[in-house]
Subunit: 302 residues, 2 copies
């Protein structure tokens, strides 16, 4: 009989919870609005308690993928907490401790984008790769990475949406929408940046609108820096903005041109279509990623 | 009796070879001009053969840290080669195979900057850290990284000098000196960029010349992206340009201002002096790094 795991995709508007043994065996799923921490966590805990009773089976572990920034340092007193979020009421909220205490189960914890990267690595576009990057480009821009087979942590965790990019104010006078850095990657290329620059929601811009050419330009610049910094074996681009499928060929073409054959690899030339790809798990990357986190802490490594 | 290792710091102007059991026990050292691959490799091989005979001891392994780009993929037919270098005569030059064959010894191979990072991790400013970055800022700009305790590889290896940066042409009309990307990090902030922008060699610019304020600005922008991409626990800045000690406080001050408290860590606030640091091994980082590479392939991991 297959072992069951729990997953929590903890987002700014919804918490999506699952009980499953894998992507093809999902036993229960529920969505809760992200209201206050107390109420939302109570609903999440109640869900897992009820499902555990209904299925009459223990949960081997629960994985949480959460909007950041979060504290991933096991030695820190605030490990397992959301830290400096601008989301009202959620600053310094503990997630791991209350869930662990209420359910008596091991809890794995990472950013939503690292979770998505781990999920794509297990079941999707990162399968078989030791080093790759996952971006979500939507309401915000976040990046997760797997390096040497493990999600990338360090001082804290990557915040790839806040890297700096060239910004030609002649071509694009929009000053950028990031409240912290103005024209960082997120400030130039997120959904809100597109809405503010063009005066209409990104999803209402026609596929041949010049917005997409400029968007592909910024994404390709960010990918050039990504290739130079992390040398990933593949870059997976997900999130609402990347639903605009016309972006993929434009991004690849600009990336190739900007790298200008300095880094020699067939993946950056004739195999670029295999190098910059959409997620295979699509909108399920977050939930399945959290599930994969739970499964990975239950496995012996190395 | 301590085991002996060889190291080769393979640079564009000199190959520096050592036989040692560690930084405090260097038994032999020699420098050879980087002429043709055939001649230079013959001198290197002759050195190790003679020293092995003189010391009457085997070499457990040899580590090579080399100017890039190089092929680090063990599955590739050109593993252990310098690949697309602009250096005349050195394109597609095998280093690992001829040394391994002539000396019958295990050879470890990495970029010069990854080697320097490994050396700083073993004996210098990266001691005890799992994730950190080493930059050399001089004739070129290169970056190496240790992630999860191992040098960062992937598709190829990092080429951090070629990340893209904001470039305000009003403030700095210099178009950039990189033949591939014009105003990438290396194109804006390397020694040759400084010489071209200000019309005199960098080392002749006085410590209060405005060149250094602009230089610190570009380095801090690159470090902001580095923090956002890799979340290192420390950033080590070496190379000739960083001999200008006035750069360190300027870089820290700009980095703090540009990050703007978005990423919460004491290392990015009151402990910034411990976060952005010079190498402890100084000019020995390259040679000792290559030595450390040789030592690490001889050790069981995990």
């Amino acid at each position: 009989m297959s072992e069951l795991f729990g997953s929590i995709e903890a987002g700014g508007t919804k918490f999506i919870c699952m009980v499953a043994s894998g992507p093809d065996d999902i036993r229960a799923e529920a969505r809760f609005n992200t209201t206050t921490p107390t109420q939302t966590l109570a609903e999440v805990i109640d869900f897992f308690q009820k499902q555990r009773a209904r299925l009459n089976a223990p949960l081997k572990a629960i994985g949480i993928g959460v909007f950041g920034p979060v504290d991933l340092d096991h030695a820190s007193p605030t490990y397992g907490c959301i830290t400096a979020t601008p989301k009202p009421g959620w600053r310094n909220t503990a997630l791991v401790a209350p869930i662990q205490q209420a359910l008596g189960v091991r809890v794995a914890f990472d950013t939503d984008v690292n979770a998505a990267a781990v999920g794509e690595g297990r079941w999707g576009a990162g399968r078989g790769l030791q080093n790759f990057v996952y971006y979500t480009i939507g309401t915000g821009i976040g990046g997760g990475a797997v390096v040497h087979g493990l999600p990338l942590h360090g001082l804290v965790h990557p915040e790839m949406g806040h890297m700096r990019l060239p910004h030609d104010l002649q071509r694009d006078p929009f000053p950028g929408s990031c409240p912290f850095h103005a024209d960082c990657f997120e400030g130039l290329a997120s959904g809100p940046a597109l809405r503010q620059r063009w005066g209409q929601p990104a999803e209402t811009l026609s596929p041949d609108h010049p917005a997409w050419e400029l968007e592909a330009h910024y994404i390709a610049l960010a990918l050039q820096s990504t290739v130079c910094m992390l040398s990933p074996q593949r870059i997976i681009l997900g999130g609402g903005i990347m639903q605009q499928a016309q972006l993929f060929p434009l991004v690849r073409q600009h990336l190739r041109s900007y790298l200008n054959q300095y880094i020699v690899s067939p993946m950056l030339e004739e195999k670029l279509e295999e190098y910059v790809v959409p997620p295979e798990l699509g909108s399920r990357a977050g939930g399945l990623g959290a599930l994969a986190l739970g499964m990975e802490i239950s496995e012996p490594h190395g």
